[in-house]
Symmetry: C2
Subunit: 358 residues, 2 copies
DNA sequence: ACGGTCCACTAAACCGGTTTGCTAAACCGC
DNA sequence: GCGGTTTAGCAAACCGGTTTAGTGGACCGT
C-alpha cells in the first residue's frame, strides 16, 4: 500500500480526457472557449479523478493570491483575545469575503516582523497600529505590495485610515469637566515596543493631546504623573488602576483609552470599594459591543471600528487596480461620545471648588 | 515613468552576481553548500536589488505552504467576535507560531465551504464544530490533506480533539440540584445550519445529555419545552432568555451552554428585575476570561479551550510526518466546574419541596 | 603521472497550473 | 470554389523558485 496516493494534477485529467492541459484549464476558468460537450466531458473526468486545481500553482501562474494580510506587531494570541482587534478584523473579513478574498494574519515570526512579511503570500497588506517609521513598514514600502496604514500617522501620500482620536478624547474630557471633575487619572495603551513613547504615531499620544486640550481650557493640567500605561486588555486596566491607586492618586474620574481597559478599571474600582459612578466616573474608548453590557453600562467614545476594517479592504483593492489614482487615499473617520451609566456628577465630599453651576 | 518597477527575481540576482539560480537559492537556504565569500557576495547583491524570494513560488517548489487552516462553518465576522473562538484561535496561533507556521481562516466562500477548502493553500486543516458527515468534511477527507476535527464526534480512526462535554454538563446540573433547584431553563447553541438537530455531533446534544443524566437521578425531567436555542453570543443569550420568559417559564436556574450566552442571560434577567443569584442562578460553559469579570462572577464549566487549539496543531504537525502512526489520534480533555458567584441556594418562596437538607 | 576525493558550483528538470499565439477545420456569402 | 471569419483546441512558454545529478578543478597519496 502506497502512502497517500498522489493527488491528480491537471496533466492527469488532460491525459485521461484525451485533451491538452490548456483545455482542462479552460474547462474550469473560461468554459465558453470550449465546446459545451467537451467541457462536460472534462469536468466529468476531473470529478472522477477527484481533481482539484492546486491553489498554489494557480497563484503562481496568475500572480494573485486572493488573500489580503493583516499586519500587526503583537503576537496573534494577544491579538485574538483583544476585542477591539476582533471587531476590526470582523470588518476586514466582511469586506474581504464579499470580494472573494481570504485574509491572513501576519505577526512577528520568531520575533521578526520583517521576516513575517517576507513569508506572507498576499496581494495587499493592512497594517494596524504601526508607525510610518517602523522597520516593518519601511520594508513594506520597498516591497511594492499595496498597503494601508491604520491608526497611525503617516507620510502624506500613503494610503491610510484614521480616526479623530484627538476630537474623541477631547469630547470625553469635556464631558467629565462639565460634570465637575477636576482630578483625573488617564489609563493609556503602552507602546508596541519600548522607545516609542515620543512617537506621535502612537495612539496614546494622540488621545492624550485631546484630553489635555480640554482640560487646558479650564486651566487644569494633566501631568505625566497621572498617566498610567498598560496593555489594552482588562488585566491591563486592572493593573494600571491599582498602580495609580498605590502611588497615592485619588481621582474622581478615569479616562481610559480602550473599553477593555475601562472594564478592568471598573473591576479594580469595585475591588477597592469604590462605587461607579457615584464615587468614581469611568469613561472608555472604542464603544465595543460589550460596553453596553457592563454594570454600569460604559460611557465611552465611539469609533467605527468595523467600518475601518471594511474601508481598509476597499482601499487595498482599488489600490491594486489604479496604481496612482488621484484619490485622497487618506480617510479620516469621526468619533463621538456615547454617554451611558459609568459617568456622573463629581462626588461632593471631594469636590474642592463647587463653583461652576452645572 | 513605468508602473511599479517589477520585483527582482532569483534570475536577476543570479545574473547580477554572476552565478547560477541554484547558487542564489543555496545562499539563502543551505549556505554551507557554498563558499562563505560567495554567500556574502550573493546576499549583498540580493539586498542591493531588494530581492525577496517569492513565497508562492517557494511553496510550489517545496510543496509546503507553511500554513495551517482553521475551518469553520460560520462567517468570519461572527467567528472573530465569538470569544470562545478567539480563545481557541489564540491557542492555535501560539502553537503554530512556535512551529513557524502561519494560520489561515477558512470559512464559507460565497456560501460554499467546499469551494473555500479548495481555494485554501494550507498544509493541514483544523475543522471546528463540523460533524463528521458534513459535506465540507467528506470533501476534506477525499482531499488528502491532514486534518483534525474539534468538538465533533467522529469516525473512530479520525484525528480529533474532544472535551468531556457530557461530564461537564452533568457536574453543572448536579451543582444546581444540590442547591435545591428543580426548575431549569436550558439555553443551548443552535446548530450551524438547519436540519442538524438530531445530529449527535452537535455540542448542544452532548451537553443536554449531561444535564439530563443529572436530573434523571433525582427524577426530574428536562423537557424539550424548557430548552431554548440561539447563536452563541451575548445577544443570543438575551434573546433566548426573553423568549423563555415570554413563553411563561419561571425557572430558578439557567443552564447556559456558553459563557457568552450566560452573560446575555445575566443581562436579560436584570432587565426583568431578577437578582442574580438571589432570584435566579446562572451557570455558563467554557470558563472564558470574561467569566471572572462579570457581576456577579460567573459560575461555569471550565474547558481547556486554549489547550485544545495547541493540541490540534500538534496533531496536525505530527500527522504530516508519520502518515499512519499507531497513536490514538483522538484526545479527550477533561472539564470541571468552577463555582463563582452566579449560583446560590434556590429562593425559598418558589421552592416547592424543601425536603433535601442542604 | 594517475586514480580517487572533495569542493564549489552549474544545468536542467521540476512543482502544477495559466496564457499566448497559432492552426486546422468548419462555415460563410457570393 | 475562393478569400475571410469563426470555432475548437493544441503546443509551448511562462510564473519564480527548489533540487538532483553532474562537472571541472584542486588537492592528495603513492
Amino acid at each position: 500500500m502506497e502512502q497517500s496516493t498522489r493527488r491528480a494534477t491537471i496533466a492527469d485529467v488532460a491525459r485521461e480526457a484525451g485533451v491538452s492541459k490548456a483545455a482542462v484549464s479552460f474547462a474550469f476558468n473560461t468554459p465558453e472557449r470550449l465546446n459545451a460537450d467537451t467541457v462536460l466531458r472534462i469536468r466529468g473526468v476531473a470529478s472522477d479523478l477527484d481533481y482539484r486545481p492546486d491553489p498554489v500553482a494557480r497563484m503562481l501562474a496568475q500572480r494573485r493570491t486572493w488573500t489580503i494580510g493583516i499586519l500587526t506587531p503583537q503576537a496573534l494570541d494577544v491579538i485574538f483575545t483583544n476585542p477591539y482587534f476582533a471587531e476590526f478584523s470582523a470588518g476586514v473579513a466582511t469586506a474581504a469575503e464579499e470580494a472573494g478574498m481570504a485574509i491572513q494574519f501576519i505577526s512577528p515570526l520568531h520575533g521578526s516582523l520583517v521576516r513575517a512579511v517576507d513569508r506572507a503570500s498576499v496581494d495587499g497588506i493592512i497594517a494596524v497600529g504601526l508607525g510610518a517609521e517602523h522597520p516593518g513598514i519601511s520594508h513594506l514600502r520597498r516591497s511594492g505590495l499595496p498597503y494601508v496604514l491604520i491608526d497611525s500617522t503617516t507620510l502624506p501620500d500613503e494610503r491610510a485610515i484614521l480616526v479623530d482620536d484627538e476630537g474623541g478624547a477631547r469630547a470625553a474630557a469635556e464631558h467629565l469637566i462639565q460634570l465637575g471633575h477636576r482630578q483625573f487619572v488617564v489609563v493609556g495603551i503602552e507602546p508596541p515596543s519600548a522607545g516609542h513613547e515620543g512617537d506621535s504615531a502612537w495612539v496614546t499620544a494622540r488621545r492624550l493631546r485631546g484630553y489635555r486640550a480640554a482640560t487646558a481650557d479650564i486651566g487644569v493640567a494633566i501631568g505625566d504623573d497621572v498617566v498610567v500605561l498598560g496593555p489594552a486588555s482588562m488585566d491591563g486596566g486592572i493593573a494600571a488602576f491599582h498602580r495609580a491607586w498605590e502611588s497615592g492618586l485619588r481621582p474622581t474620574a478615569v479616562l481610559a483609552m480602550s473599553d477593555a481597559m475601562a472594564i478592568g478599571v471598573l473591576r479594580a474600582a469595585r475591588e477597592l470599594g469604590l462605587r461607579v459612578p457615584t464615587d468614581l466616573s469611568i469613561i472608555g474608548f472604542d464603544n465595543l459591543d460589550i460596553a453596553q453590557y457592563t454594570d454600569p453600562p460604559l460611557t465611552t467614545v465611539h469609533q467605527p471600528t468595523r467600518e475601518k476594517g471594511e474601508a481598509a479592504v476597499r482601499l487595498i483593492l482599488e489600490g491594486g487596480r489604479t496604481r496612482n489614482s488621484p484619490e485622497p487615499a487618506q480617510h479620516q473617520f469621526d468619533t463621538h461620545l456615547v454617554v451611558r451609566g459609568s459617568t456622573a456628577q463629581v462626588p461632593h465630599v471631594r469636590q474642592e471648588v463647587a463653583d461652576d453651576g452645572t
